[in-house]
Symmetry: C3
Amino acid sequence: MITTVPHGPVLELRLSRPPVNALSPELIAELRRRVEAAPGEGARALVLSGLPGMFSAGLDVPLLLTLDRAAMAEMWRDFYALLRTLAFSPIPVLAAITGHAPAGGAVLALFCDWRVMAQGEWKIGLNEVQVGLILPPVIFQAFKRQVGPREAARAVRGLLFSPVEAERIGLVEELIVPEQVIERAVAWCQEIVSLPQQAMLSTREQSRADLCGLFSQGVEREVGEVAEVWWSPEVQTALRGFVERLGKKR
Amino acid sequence: MITTVPHGPVLELRLSRPPVNALSPELIAELRRRVEAAPGEGARALVLSGLPGMFSAGLDVPLLLTLDRAAMAEMWRDFYALLRTLAFSPIPVLAAITGHAPAGGAVLALFCDWRVMAQGEWKIGLNEVQVGLILPPVIFQAFKRQVGPREAARAVRGLLFSPVEAERIGLVEELIVPEQVIERAVAWCQEIVSLPQQAMLSTREQSRADLCGLFSQGVEREVGEVAEVWWSPEVQTALRGFVERLGKKR
Amino acid sequence: MITTVPHGPVLELRLSRPPVNALSPELIAELRRRVEAAPGEGARALVLSGLPGMFSAGLDVPLLLTLDRAAMAEMWRDFYALLRTLAFSPIPVLAAITGHAPAGGAVLALFCDWRVMAQGEWKIGLNEVQVGLILPPVIFQAFKRQVGPREAARAVRGLLFSPVEAERIGLVEELIVPEQVIERAVAWCQEIVSLPQQAMLSTREQSRADLCGLFSQGVEREVGEVAEVWWSPEVQTALRGFVERLGKKR
C-alpha cells in the first residue's frame, strides 16, 4: 500500500492504494509505522507522495461504513495518532501533492513541513462539511495555522480549491508541472538536509511548536466526540448519500 | 431605519437611514433587535446590506456630540452589545457592503461571517485615529483577526482603503459589480444553508471561537474606558473639527 | 557610526559603519542609546536607515569571532536590549531599508513599526540557519508575527529574499526606488506625527502589544542559551566557514 523510494538521505513514501489512495485503517496504520521508523533507518527527510493525479481521496468512506462502533473508534484513534506522528516527526516531511487531495488527503498535507502541488485540474481542500462531517478541531486549527483565520472560514462551506486557488490562499506553498512534483519535493528535502543540522532542526522545532501544541492537552476527548458524531443520523445519511453519488460517478 | 427583505430562508436587513446610514443610538438598538430576533422568526442566514453607494458612514458623530455623559455611555454599551450579538449570531451573517464603509461601517462588517463589497470609488477602513478616536481594543482585535497583525498596524494611521486595496489586505473577501452585491450575498447565504446543518454550524462555531472569545472576559471595563476617552479634550476637539469639515463638504 | 539627520519632528538615525554596516558591540550599544534618547530630545518619530545599497549586513561575525565568552555574552545581552528598546519605543520607528538586510539587518527591521525597502538587487531575510545559527526564539516570533506561521517556516531554510519576494510574503510593506527610500520613510513619519497623538499612540500600543509581549517573561534565559550555542562546535565551524567565504568574496 506504500511504495518506498530512497533518494539518498531522503526517503519517499508513495501512497499506492489504487484506485484513489483512499485511507483505509490498514493504510493509516502502515503510514504511521513508516513515518515513525524512517529516522531510525537513516532517513533525514521524508517525501509523502501519491499516485499521478491522485494524492489521496481521504478517508475510505465506503469501507468505513461497513465497520462497527469499536472498529470506527479505533480508526479515529489511529488517524489522530498518524497526524500526531507527522506533527512530531523529528525529520522534515514534505508533501508532494501529485493530484487530488480532498478531505483526509488535504489533512495529511497540513501536518507536513511544506507542500508542493502538481498543476492541473485537481481539487484540494477540507470538504468535510459538504459530506456532513464536522471538521475535527485539531484539523481546523492546523488549517487555520496554515492559511490564517480569515481563509480558514472557508472550511465552514467545505470548499475545494484548484491548485492555483490553493496557492493563493496559502494551502499549498508551491505549484509545479505534474511530472516534476516528486523531483521538486526531493530537491527541497536535499536542500534542507544539506544545512547545518543543529541550527535547522532547532529552528524547525520553533516553527512547528504551535502545530505540536495542538496535541498538548491530549486529544482523547476530541477523538471520542468525533467518533460519536460519526453515528449521528444526519452524518450517516449524508455519508450514505455521498457514497451513492460516488457509485454513480464510477 | 431598517428594511427587511426576505429571500426564502435568507433574511436581508437593509440599513435605510438616509443620507449616509449613520449609526444613531436608535439604529444601533434596532439592528441588534433584528439580528437577535431573526433566527426565531425562521431565518437561517442574514444579509446585512446598506444603501447603494453607502453601506454605513459609521457612528453618527454630529448627533452623538449633542448627547450627555449618561446617553453616550449607554450608546457605547449598546454598540458593544450589537457587536457581541453579531459575533454570537447562531446563524451566518453576510455583509453586503454596498458602498462606503468607514469606521463603524467597517466595524459592523468585521463581525460578520464574510464580506462581499461593491466595486467602485468607495472607501472602507478603520479611520478612527484620523478623527481622534482610539480604536477600541475589541475592534482592533477583530480587525487583526481578519487581516493579520502586520496589516492591522495600518489602523494606527487610520487608513481608508479602496475596494481593491481592501480585498488585497483581506479586509473584504469578494468584490463584485455594485448592482450584484446583494444578489451575490444572498446566493452565498443560500449555498451555506443548503449544506448539512449540523456539520456546517459546528465547523462555523470553531471558526468564530476566537471572535466570540474577544468578549469572554466581559467588556464592561473597556466600554467604560472608551466612554471616558470620548470626553477628553483632544478627542472632543478632533470630533468637532471632523463635524465642521463634514458640514463644509455638504 | 550613526549619522543623525533631523527632518523637523522626525529624526533619522543613519547606520554609517562602512563597508557593510556590520553590527559591532559598539554600534549595537550606540544605536540603543540613540533610540532611547530620541524622544527626550524632541523627536516624535524615528527613521532607521543605512548606507546606499546596504542597510546592515547583520552581526559583525568576523569581529565577534575574536571575542571571549564574557564579551560575547555581553554582546548578546546588548543585542536583545536593543531589540527590546525598539519594540518598546514610545515613538514610531520606520525602517528605511536602503539595500541588503540579511540576518541582523532584517532583525532590526522586524522590530520597527513599518518597513520601506529600496527596489533593486538586494537580499533580505533571516539566513541564520545557513551560517549555522539557531534563530533565537524572540526573533523567530517577531518574524512569525510579521509574516504569519506559514511563511515563517521559510526561516527553517535560512532563505534570503529579493525585495519583490520580501514584499510578497509580507517581510516588508513597501518598495520604492532607492533614491526615494529615505524621503518616503520621512514622509510616512511626518504623516503619522500629524495625526491626533493620543488616538494614534494608544492604537499603536495595541498594535505592538504582541511584539512587546515577547519580552514579558524576561529573556535572560533565552539570552543565556543563545550565548551558549554560539560556542558549540557545529556553530563555530559553520561561522568560520562563513567568514572564510566572506574573505574570498572580497
